[in-house]
Each structure stands twice: as C-alpha cells, then as structure tokens.
Symmetry: C2
Subunit: 117 residues, 2 copies
DNA sequence: CCCATATATATGATCAAGCGTATGTAATGC
DNA sequence: GCATTACATACGCTTGATCATATATATGGG
C-alpha cells in the first residue's frame, strides 16, 4: 500500500513525530533511547509515535541486541523525501527543532559510539 | 503568529483541505461554489474546511458581491509554498487530485467567467 | 535461571476532528 | 419589503488522537 498524502501529512502534523523524522534524516539511524534523550520526552511516548510511523511505512526498524534502530524507510517516495528536506530547511532555526540535533550530540554513552568507536 | 509545521501539516492532512489548496495553487482564486463543484462535496463541508484554512492563516478570502473568493495567503512562507509545489507534483496523477482540475474546468456557469468574459 | 536494560503495548481518561442536517447571515434584484 | 442565491455557522453525534501510568516482552550477562 503506497504512502498517501493523508498518512504522510498526518504523521508530520505531530511535533514529536516530526522531530524524530528530522533527526533520523540527519543521522543514518537512531535508537529509541537516543530519540528519547534528544527530545527530552518519556520513553513510552517516543515508542508509541515510532510505532505509528512504522505502521504508516514512513520509518523502518532494525533490532541489534538490546537496541532497536529506526531510520527513514528506504522506499520512501521521492516527493516525501523532498517534503522532509524543505521542512528541515524551513525550521532549521526554530525551536524545538534547532536544539534537537545538539542535544543528540551531547548525549553521553550513545550506544553506537560505545560499542563501535 | 507565524505558521507552524503543526498547523500547516495538520491542514494538509485532510484530503478535502489539500484538494482545495492544490486547486487554489493552480488558479488565482476560487469561490466556494467552484470548490464545491470541483470536489463534489456539499457546501457546508467545504465552507467549514475553508474556515479552518483561513483561521490557520493559510488562505485569504475576499468577498465580491455574492461570492467569496479564496486564494493562498499572500504572506505564506516560502517553505510552505515549496511543500505545496512538491506535493502537487507528487500527486499530479493520483485520484482524486488528478480529476479535480478537469472537474473545475468543466463546471458550467463559473462566476468569474459569467460576469467578466 | 534470575536480573538488569531497552523497548513495546495495554489501560483509562481527556480532548479534538470530522460529519450531516438544520439554520443563520449577507448581498442582490424586483 | 420579500424572495433568491451564496456562504457561514450551530448542533448533536461519532470517531480518533494523545497522554501518563502501569505492565509486558525481549535480549544479554552473570
């Protein structure tokens, strides 16, 4: 079932989901605890929104050990990626999007960094 | 109050509103009866959605005689226009968006055409 | 097997979205 | 003033979104 405008824009309409997507767009993939830390939200809230994005076909997930990594779905249509790109540029200087990337980079003990450095 | 990602994407998430916006993007401005006819929906439904778009600052309206003409708000930020452009291209061949433009052009007695031709 | 960590889901409550029908308002012409 | 046309809004209803808290599941290490 292809991605509809309704399902994409409904996903982007919630700031929590949009923040996650814009973070994933910058990094190759992110686990739940990284997103939880970067956004400063509680884990069940992040997990529920990620489940919605997964069910809509907007993100893909991959389990590695204890961690589940999320990334933009590799088969996302080009127009959806363009919408994300335009949005990322449009909100680059706005809260809370602007601070999410720095909060992520300042996170201690990031799983990927710990085991693969 | 500037347009937020939340208010824009929430507006685009409803197919009725998105169809109206993509039609307005192609024409200079459209009155309610033109949108009602093009979409094949009842008038109060169109009117309620247009009110939401107006309150969100996404469209502007202008009364001329009996008719109220709606257009994309002239102060819409560039990134919002870009999102609309990408979306219009992405769904150009999909129902119901593809047929809306032709349904509009085949409408008899369009107000603008009647009085100004 | 038991425990700790990471993530997912269930629960119950609150709040907003969207709908069709009915009615209100605004402009025009007679 | 009255009727007509165009548009807006109120009402009652149903459905769905989001949340915080609590609990379940999964993996890896002792």
């Amino acid at each position: 079932m292809p991605l509809t405008t309704e399902s994409l824009f409904r996903a982007l309409a919630d700031p929590t989901r949009l923040r996650c997507l814009l973070l994933m767009r910058g990094e190759s993939e992110l686990c739940v605890c990284e997103l939880t830390h970067a956004l400063g939200e509680i884990q069940p809230k992040i997990s529920r929104h990620l489940a919605q994005l997964r069910e809509a076909g907007i993100v893909a997930d991959r389990r590695q050990g204890l961690w589940v990594y999320y990334r933009l779905h590799p088969e996302l249509p080009a127009w959806a990626l363009e919408v994300l790109r335009i949005t990322a540029e449009g909100v680059a200087n706005q809260a809370p999007f602007a601070t999410d990337h720095t909060a992520l980079r300042e996170m201690p003990n990031r799983p990927g960094a710990v085991c693969c450095a």
